[in-house]
Amino acid sequence: MLWLPHSGHAANRSQSWRIDEAQTSIAFKIDAVGFPTTHGHFGHYTGKILIDFDRPAKSFTNFTVDATSVDVGAASFNDFVKSRALLNVERFPTMAFASTQVEKLDAHTARVIGNLTMLGVSRPLTLTVDVETNAANQENAVSFTAKGTIVRSEFGMTFGIPLIDDAIEITVKTRALNDE
């Protein structure tokens, strides 16, 4: 996905890192009028992280999320979020993000631009990524916190607007391990 913020690393080609599932969460939040902010997450996904330390722009990531694994805290609420009105998981069981551009902003921040495919529609999505390295173990583990906003109407998900916000804030936390 990114690079380690120091140079002279031994691994100098885009190298695939393992996603530490215990340290990964794909979460979202959405506001609505007269209703508490809804926080949710997706439990199942597959992903890939390639990190090129020398040429950050060559880094790459993609994630495919199992839409049916959405969890907003209660079975009936999950069923509603999965229904045709929102995620329509019967017809669109997965959502996917694939990066097209990685840009280093500073030593600990990057901008990742990619395509998000949701409800069969692909649109560009920009994520701001905080990169966190553990000083003692920076060659083998990097943590990322990616934040972005999905404008759901762009994907045809117009249900409940304007009572339910058009904007969905997403936060993807993950840790990449280089333990091969």
């Binding site: 609505a32 209703f35 508490p36 902010t37 809804t38 926080h39 907003v72 805290g73 209660a74 009936s76 609420f77 509603f80 229904s83 009105a85 249900f159 409940g160 607007i161 304007p162 009572l163 339910i164």
Partner: protein
């Protein structure tokens, strides 16, 4: 001429107490889910429970009103005309609120832009006869809130009056609704 019965017919009495339990539960549930529950998942669950119970209350009130119309009231202990009129007005207001509360709730769920399917008792989908409309929804929501306060107040007035009849005046009015026995009116 026959003397009026001493107590309400059994179906009326059963309907009254079931309706009381249902209506108080709905008032408490509604207030709790809107004002006390901050967790969105719990709020969603409780709201989805509130809706079919509200429709049940509407059906119940309909059946109860039919039953009421075809029964004769037991003898009334009140003697002064203003007291009789006040009691009649209070009961009419209660019946009216019992109809308008679920109807305004139904108007909310059918007019909201956040239309969420409601399955009644596990097998019937609640019909949504109107197109979603924010202005109608907002009006229905305000109406439902105002009526809920009015209904809660009327429940307090009704209970208070029953207590006065029972413990101050000791005129047996509560017994008309509480009394156990055979229905005096075979038509119901």
């Amino acid at each position: 001429m026959n003397e009026p019965a001493a107590i309400w017919p059994l179906p009326i009495r059963i309907a009254h107490w079931l309706s009381a339990a249902l209506v108080i539960s709905l008032l408490v549930l509604g207030a709790v889910m809107v004002f006390a529950v901050a967790d969105p998942a719990r709020r969603f669950e409780l709201t989805q429970i509130h809706k079919p119970l509200g429709i049940l209350a509407l059906i119940f009130t309909g059946a109860r009103a039919c039953c009421r119309l075809c029964s004769s009231a037991p003898k009334i202990a009140l003697t002064s005309r203003p007291a009789v009129l006040a009691a009649k007005a209070a009961h009419l207001a209660l019946y009216l609120l019992l109809f308008l509360m679920p109807l305004s709730g139904w108007l909310m769920v059918t007019s909201t832009p956040i239309r969420i399917p409601v399955t009644l008792f596990g097998f019937v989908d609640l019909p949504f006869p109107l197109a979603p409309d924010l202005a109608t929804y907002n009006a229905a929501r305000t109406t439902h809130l105002v009526l809920s306060i009015a209904l809660a107040l009327m429940v307090v007035v009704h209970t208070g009056a029953a207590m006065v009849h029972q413990f101050l005046w000791r005129d047996g009015t509560l017994t008309r609704m509480w009394g156990l026995g055979r229905s005096p009116d075979p038509r119901c």
